[in-house]
């Protein structure tokens, strides 16, 4: 286990360094876009005098390096700073958005991941039979439809047609049941795509080891198809499955802007897009740090889980010694 801990420590250090590089790149990139926050805020009504006054007020007259240093210093103190666009503390802006994004991602993941893995396993057990064919075609369809299309179809069916679920997911009251109802359609839209991916990857990973001699051996021993897949093939296919599950989890957190727009769901993705449009560097930075942190953290988790799931990776040295 000592090796695992050392690896985790090393990965975390690398992750923090990556975050800093990203923050620099994002800062530079947003600064290189034409226009600045003052011009974006004043829009068509900008006059030279009002621009100058607003730039002064926002501290945009300072050089880029100074502004970046200020931001970094703030971050060290745990202070994300204030939004240039509306002068609110960024933590106050981001907290509800992050909560919204995470609850949607959690619900979609809770539906999609177990279902995807389970259907993947079922597909291999019933390989080349009706269930496998239907699941395979349906998952391909779900992956191929763009999300906004799936979303509009679900809205047309469940909101406008049947009137069961709300068409937009913005609610002022926050009871548990109501929140679930509000989240139902966006979560379902996201789930459809994710189930498709997870199902196909799970099936492919298990099928990969099904041709191995030990699976053949198990079959000859007289183990049934269910037992072969679950007890013998699955443990060896876990690594790739964990990977695809984690990558889809990351996608659910960072990649749902289209869904947020269609369902008017105030998540983090929409905030990032709006903030880029307003050249609101501190908010863009904060969102990017959260997204990048999510990716780095989840990747780390995937590596650790894969390691724990695979004894050969867990104890590389002993393996060599014995060989």
């Amino acid at each position: 286990m000592h090796g695992v801990l050392a690896m985790i420590a090393q990965r975390i250090a690398l992750g923090v360094a990556t975050l800093f590089v990203i923050s620099m790149l994002v800062f530079l990139a947003v600064d290189m876009l034409p226009g600045d926050p003052a011009e974006a805020i004043l829009g068509q009504s900008a006059t030279p005098a009002s621009l100058a006054a607003l730039r002064q007020e926002l501290g945009l007259n300072k050089p880029l390096v100074v502004r970046y240093a200020d931001w970094t210093a703030g971050l060290m103190r745990g202070d994300f700073g204030r939004s240039l666009a509306n002068d609110r503390p960024i933590s106050e802006l981001i907290a509800p958005r992050l909560g919204a994004t995470l609850s949607l991602a959690a619900l979609a993941a809770a539906i999609a991941l177990p279902l995807g893995v389970l259907l993947g396993i079922l597909s291999t057990v019933h390989r080349d039979r009706a269930l496998d064919r239907v699941a395979s075609t349906a998952s391909l369809l779900a992956i191929s439809f763009p999300e906004f299309f799936t979303a509009y179809m679900l809205v047309a069916c469940f909101s406008v047609g049947l009137g069961w679920l709300p068409a937009i997911s913005l609610s002022s009251q926050g009871g548990f049941v109501e929140t679930l109802t509000m989240l139902a359609l966006p979560a379902l839209t996201l789930s459809l795509a994710v189930i498709g991916y997870v199902l196909r990857m799970t099936r492919a990973a298990i099928m990969g080891v099904m041709a191995s001699p030990y699976v053949e051996m198990a079959r000859l021993k007289g183990v049934g198809p269910w037992g072969v897949v679950v007890r013998h093939a699955l443990p060896n296919a876990l690594s790739p499955i964990i990977n695809v599950v984690i990558i889809n989890l990351a996608y659910l957190v960072v990649g749902v802007v289209v869904i947020e727009v269609v369902f008017v769901y105030p998540g983090l993705g929409q905030l990032l897009v709006d903030s880029v449009a307003k050249r609101d560097i501190p908010v863009v930075q904060a969102c990017c740090m959260l997204f990048a942190g999510t990716y780095i953290g989840l990747n780390l988790l995937a590596d650790i889980l894969a390691l724990l799931a695979n004894p050969r990776l867990r104890r590389p040295r002993q393996q060599e010694a014995r060989a």
Binding site: G35, I41, T47, A49, N86, R88, P166, A167, V261
Partner: protein
């Protein structure tokens, strides 16, 4: 009187064809007395995460609605541009229109119970006028020399130069009245019909009825919630499923579909908003008026109105005033698509093979790119090559508009003829950064300045008529269309005559409407 913000007979006929059973005039609502109560939920398409309650920065219609829910002006611009006394009970100008005295309404209180005084008005105006102010209203307030309280209930404005339209200016959304000394705009303190409960920029806002509101029959809803919905389909779905009661900016292509639903009403209102391809008259090749005329003859306005606006608009006539403005001159002949005349002017200018670059993005208006591509096809028949250059949507106003010699533009309505012509077509407007065509015609500058001081309506009309002709004949703006406003509401809502200065009854739906 002209029919401001109201469909004229011609558009009624046109509209009857295009709209079928569309409810053009909600006339049934007129007879009813407003009722109190209900939760009004509105979907708004125009918003930003930079929205705030700072009166010096009111850039989106979302913040405009919110300002007018919470606060009042001295004067309100009613439907048809008619001035309605709001916090000012009455006003009076001196003979030279340089001194204006506003009498303040008595017994008005802010949401926190503080009484309205002239000091509040002075503070509100100085918020924009002070040195270093970032206010977008500052340029039009440059004409104020001093603003002072006169006794307990009067305010006196001394202007640098006479302006008979000054009372109208005080109805601008930025000139809402806030308490003396107030700089914490986030509180949303005002005298308006609603009190702020919640405001998340770019997401939503919620206000509740002000029980002490001084206006009878206004501010009728118990609560008003505004929801930011960028996607036109999501706005329509939200209305169809009853999650909102009204929304603005209906996609013209969906009007016929929405009308099949008997619970939905489409409000079509003639507006002051125009779409244009402005040419800079101080830049080659547009320095030649013949080239400009050729460009104006080389566009098929009717087709753009039909194809891009879905028929919900009317062709422009290369000057910025529509029938919704008081001094619109309808007698100027409509310029029509005429490739031969365009070729004639090109030959005269010695530019037989004119090639121009037209910069466009969807920021000015949805469908701008389509309009530009149609124009390209129209102009080709006149021998003009228009290269359509697609620009990014964000940053369009700062890096393309008013920078490139030929681009795409949209103008929302302005309070009156004077403000529009001063900003858009005079040397003052050039200094303020609004004169997109850089026109600097001495006669036009004089007319704009003189009409501003002229109390005699007949004389003003003659001056503004001349101004429209000058811009029509020599101006750089290829103004091809005036858009109609299309809002969708639930039939449960009732309202009177709708204003055409902004969508949703001049951004005052929450104040004026009620549940029937």
């Amino acid at each position: 009187m002209t029919n401001h913000g109201y469909p004229d007979r011609r558009s009624l006929l046109l509209g009857a064809g295009a709209l079928g059973a569309a409810q053009l005039l909600p006339s049934r609502a007129f007879a009813q007395a407003p009722k109190r109560g209900g939760a009004f939920r509105v979907g708004i398409s125009d918003f930003a995460t930079s929205d705030s309650l700072d009166p010096t920065l009111v850039e989106t219609q979302f913040s405009q609605h919110l300002q007018w829910q919470l606060r009042n002006n001295l004067v309100e611009a009613g439907p048809g541009g008619k001035l309605v006394p709001e916090l000012a009970e009455s006003w009076e100008g001196s003979k030279d229109a340089k001194t204006w005295t506003f009498k303040l309404r008595k017994g008005v209180t802010f949401h926190d119970g503080k009484s309205l005084t002239p000091a509040d008005v002075v503070h509100s105006f100085n918020t924009h006028r002070r040195d270093g102010s970032k206010s977008m209203t500052k340029p039009i307030l440059a004409q104020i020399a001093t603003v002072k309280a006169d006794g307990p209930d009067a305010i006196v404005f001394e202007l640098v130069d006479g302006n008979v339209g000054f009372p109208a200016l005080t109805s601008s959304v930025g000139l809402v009245i806030i308490p003396d000394g107030d700089t914490d705009y986030r509180r949303g303190m005002g005298t308006g019909g609603y009190i702020l409960e919640q405001f998340e920029p770019g997401v939503r806002s919620r206000v509740k009825r002000n029980p002490n509101y001084w206006k009878a029959g206004r501010g009728n809803f118990d609560t008003v919630e505004m929801i930011c919905i960028k996607d036109a389909t999501a706005r329509a779905n939200a209305l169809l499923t009853g999650q909102i009661d009204a929304y603005n900016a209906v996609d013209p292509r969906t009007v016929a579909l929405l009308e099949r639903n008997s619970a939905v009403r489409i409000n079509r209102v003639k507006s002051k908003a125009h779409f244009a391809f402005p040419m800079m008259v101080d830049q080659a090749p547009f320095a030649s008026n013949d080239v400009r005329l050729a460009m104006k003859y080389a566009i098929d306005r009717e087709e753009i109105v039909k194809r891009v606006l879905g028929g919900f608009g009317s062709p422009g006539n290369d000057h910025p005033l529509s029938a919704a403005y008081e001094f619109y001159d309808g007698s100027i002949p409509q310029r029509a698509y005429d490739p031969d005349k365009a070729k004639f002017h090109l030959a005269k200018a010695g530019e037989a093979n004119l090639r121009v670059q037209l910069h466009v993005s969807e920021t000015p208006f949805a469908g701008a790119t389509d309009a530009a591509v149609l124009f390209k096809a129209h102009a080709a028949k006149a021998g003009i090559t228009v290269d359509v250059a697609k620009e990014p949507e964000d940053g369009y106003w700062s890096s393309v508009w008013n920078k490139k010699p030929l681009c795409t533009s949209r103008w929302s309505g302005r309070i009156n003829d004077d403000v529009l012509l001063t900003l858009g077509y005079s040397d003052t407007g050039t200094k303020a950064g609004w004169n997109e065509t850089r026109i600097n015609n001495p006669r036009l500058n004089t007319i704009v300045a003189e009409a501003r001081k002229e109390f005699d309506t007949g004389k003003r009309r003659a001056l503004y008529s001349e101004a429209q002709r000058i811009i029509h004949d020599e101006g750089g703006s290829n103004i091809f269309a005036f858009a109609d406003f299309l809002d969708a509401t639930s039939r449960k809502l009732a309202f009177g005559e709708l204003a055409g200065d902004w969508m949703l009854d001049g951004c005052r739906a929450s104040e004026r409407w009620w549940f029937a």
